[in-house]
């Protein structure tokens, strides 16, 4: 009987890890469909960003109360994983609480800490569920989240509550079975008398085993849920903070091909001889975006801080920076499936521009960087907006009439208005 459990556990473990690796690999492949961009300079600053922004969740503290709740759920989630090491070893070796003897009293301190964290995680997940579903904060009820995204958020919170609950019940059952009167843990000991009154020894053994199995199956299932969920941010927040652009927010990425084009026009003697390569300007689809923008899309946890800060979104415009990120991820997943199915990308008559993100959304952006400033996981929705705008103007000549007038004024009068360049210094005669 014991061997069957061990073998079953081994098979389950290998399958879970294989499936997770496979899905993460697919995501990596999808991200690498993006344009190359070297983001490996200034390693010290990058490591600092990783520690402060991802591990320390620095930007979350713009709202301190939520930040503390979030940090405890996160810490609980990570620290309790130390206990998972014991659970895994017990599973492989058919032992029970393999660390208890070697660690002595420190073991009880550890498990007590895990139990307190587990208890807090349950409470705070309930608070977060209430915030999402009963208080209905505006950023959680926006249309961007209709359908799957809303369910996704709730599934994550409910799963965490269930996993933590199983952990506590498992400990309680285990304590009830123990002959050692000193063996009890800080939270689960409150459940023990209840078990002892209600159930026989065999029943409690069944409960313990059931909780143990459900808990570890739950963890494996949750691990494999991540690639399909916004919850992937618990992993991708780290590389996303590390690879974040380091230049000041005001600086737009230079387009070297256009820079050279203009240089050759002004100084034809510098132009290279031979046939010019056809050029592409800006982005029409996900493959035209930088790989960092694609990793941004997978890192987004749909919290909506960007859209809450966005002046366009706040005044009822169609633009929502969060939706820009969600659309990019949806389209990228679609392209990834297309490539997997056909061996290479086969035109599906769809593009990120127009079919997912509309011109009206793009036109509403004031490039104020509020979305970039707010994002706790170092995403820049603005980079995507700008690349799509570039394509609209330079590939499709799609600009509102007023912008076309502005362009021609700049070209002819060297100012965005239709005023004579000779009058540029007219004010000097009036000082």
């Amino acid at each position: 009987m014991q061997y069957i459990q061990q073998v079953a556990f081994l098979i389950l473990f290998i399958y879970a890890v294989w499936l997770f690796t496979k899905n993460i690999n697919q995501i990596r492949k999808n991200i690498l469909l993006g344009r190359d961009e070297d983001l490996t300079d200034n390693k010290n600053i990058r490591w600092k960003n990783l520690f402060l922004l991802a591990l320390g969740q620095k930007k979350m503290f713009r709202n301190p109360l939520v930040a503390v709740l979030h940090l405890i759920i996160y810490a609980g989630f990570i620290i309790i994983n130390i206990e998972v090491i014991e659970i895994l070893l017990d599973g492989f070796l058919g032992t029970r609480r393999i660390f208890m003897k070697p660690l002595g009293s420190f073991y009880f301190f550890l498990i007590d800490s895990f139990e307190i964290l587990a208890f807090l995680v349950i409470i705070f997940c309930v608070v977060f569920l209430i915030r999402r579903n009963i208080i209905k904060l505006k950023r959680f009820t926006a249309n961007d989240l209709n359908g799957w995204p809303k369910k996704d958020a709730n599934y994550i919170l409910i799963t965490e509550i269930i996993l933590m609950g199983l952990f506590l019940k498992m400990n309680a059952a285990d304590t009830a079975l123990s002959n050692n009167p000193n063996e009890h843990f800080i939270i689960s000991s409150y459940i023990v008398p209840f078990y002892q009154q209600m159930f026989t020894h065999v029943q409690i053994e069944m409960i313990e085993r059931t909780c143990w199995w459900l808990h570890i199956i739950g963890i494996f299932a949750f691990l494999n849920y991540l690639p399909y969920s916004k919850h992937l941010h618990i992993l991708l927040a780290f590389p996303n903070a590390y690879y974040a652009r380091l230049n000041t927010m005001g600086e737009m990425q230079n387009m070297e091909n256009v820079q050279n084009e203009v240089k050759y026009m002004m100084q034809p003697e510098l132009a290279p001889t031979g046939e010019a390569q056809p050029m592409k300007f800006g982005a029409k689809d996900v493959m035209d975006l930088s790989w960092k923008s694609l990793m941004d899309a997978y890192s987004c946890t749909e919290c909506g801080r960007c859209s809450t800060a966005c002046p366009a979104n706040q005044t009822g415009k169609l633009l929502s920076p969060r939706k820009i990120m969600m659309d990019t991820r949806d389209r990228l997943e679609e392209v990834g499936r297309n490539i997997k199915k056909n061996g290479q990308f086969v035109d599906d008559e769809k593009k990120l521009l127009n079919d997912f993100i509309t011109v009206e959304e793009l036109r509403a952006c004031t490039t104020c960087n509020a979305c970039v400033q707010e994002c706790p996981v170092s995403i820049s929705p603005l980079d995507i907006i700008i690349e799509l705008r570039r394509s609209l103007i330079m590939e499709d000549s799609n600009a509102p009439q007023e912008w076309n007038a502005m362009f021609s004024n700049i070209e002819n009068n060297f100012a965005p208005w239709k005023l004579s360049p000779d009058d540029r210094d007219k004010w000097t005669s009036e000082v």
Binding site: G250, V258, G316
Partner: protein, 260 residues
């Protein structure tokens, strides 16, 4: 009557100015912004700084074209401006426009234009700190309730939050902050080339939302450090029919009016 010297004049006399004043398109052509320009040259003149403008040789930096998505137009303007600036061997530039500031400082270096670029908020703060700007006792704006609106291209884009506030503190004003300020500041609605087109469909206008927030502070002056923010906020104040009670002023205008 102040004579505003140009780079061409300096070149002709074989001299070099300490700093180039980059006026910008708004500062050159927009009637409201011209007043800011005039206030700023008055300050430069009083302090006795050797400065020059490019005059007719100055062109749009290309900021609105680039942000609308027209990289060609941006590169054309950048190329021509850098030719002129490098031709005059410019080392230091001051400008009263955060958009020009951002482009000159952050986007021209990679194209071969390397200058020390200072926004007038920082420039004025330095002059006050160095004691070169002498303010009247009592001060024109002493104790007046003033709120400061952060320009996105000065604040978030370039992390300049304190300099304009220090200038206001030097004027002894009673600075009141809006609910959304500094890195949380709400845009005026002009950036990203929005200044040059109608707003997209929505249930409100960004500049009105922002002006209302400024009006709610009870301030009698809304201070700005950007000619575009200035226009947008003024429109918002007019929309509430508050233009009699509330002024929208640039920090250069506040300083100029407070100088000995």
């Amino acid at each position: 009557m102040i004579h505003v010297p140009t780079m061409a004049e300096f070149l002709a006399s074989g001299e070099k100015p300490e700093v180039l004043f980059w006026v910008g398109c708004a500062g050159s052509f927009d009637q409201r912004a011209q007043k800011i320009t005039k206030a700023f040259v008055t300050i430069l003149n009083k302090v006795g700084i050797k400065y020059a403008i490019l005059g007719k040789e100055e062109m749009c930096t290309g900021d609105p074209a680039r942000r609308a998505g027209n990289e060609f137009m941006f590169q054309m303007m950048a190329y021509q401006n850098i030719q002129i600036l490098n031709g005059y061997e410019i080392k230091k530039i001051v400008t009263a426009c955060p958009h020009c500031f951002n482009t000159l400082k952050n986007e021209y270096p990679v194209l071969g234009g390397n200058y020390e670029v200072i926004h007038h908020a920082v420039f004025l703060q330095q002059l006050i700190d160095e004691g070169k700007i002498k303010l009247t006792d009592g001060g024109t704006f002493k104790g007046k309730k003033i709120t400061y609106h952060d320009s996105c291209y000065l604040g978030r884009a370039n992390n300049i939050y304190e300099a304009p506030r220090k200038v206001l503190e030097a004027l002894d004003v009673a600075l009141v902050e809006m609910k959304r300020c500094k890195s949380n500041g709400l845009c005026c609605g002009a950036g990203g080339a929005q200044m040059f087109k109608e707003e997209e469909k929505g249930d409100g206008r960004i500049n009105i939302e922002r002006s209302n927030e400024a009006i709610e502070t009870g301030a009698s002056v809304i201070a700005a450090a950007c000619p575009f923010c200035n226009t947008m906020l003024m429109d918002g104040v007019k929309n509430k029919e508050k233009e009699e009670e509330i002024e929208v002023l640039d920090i250069a205008e506040l300083v100029a009016a407070s100088m000995v």
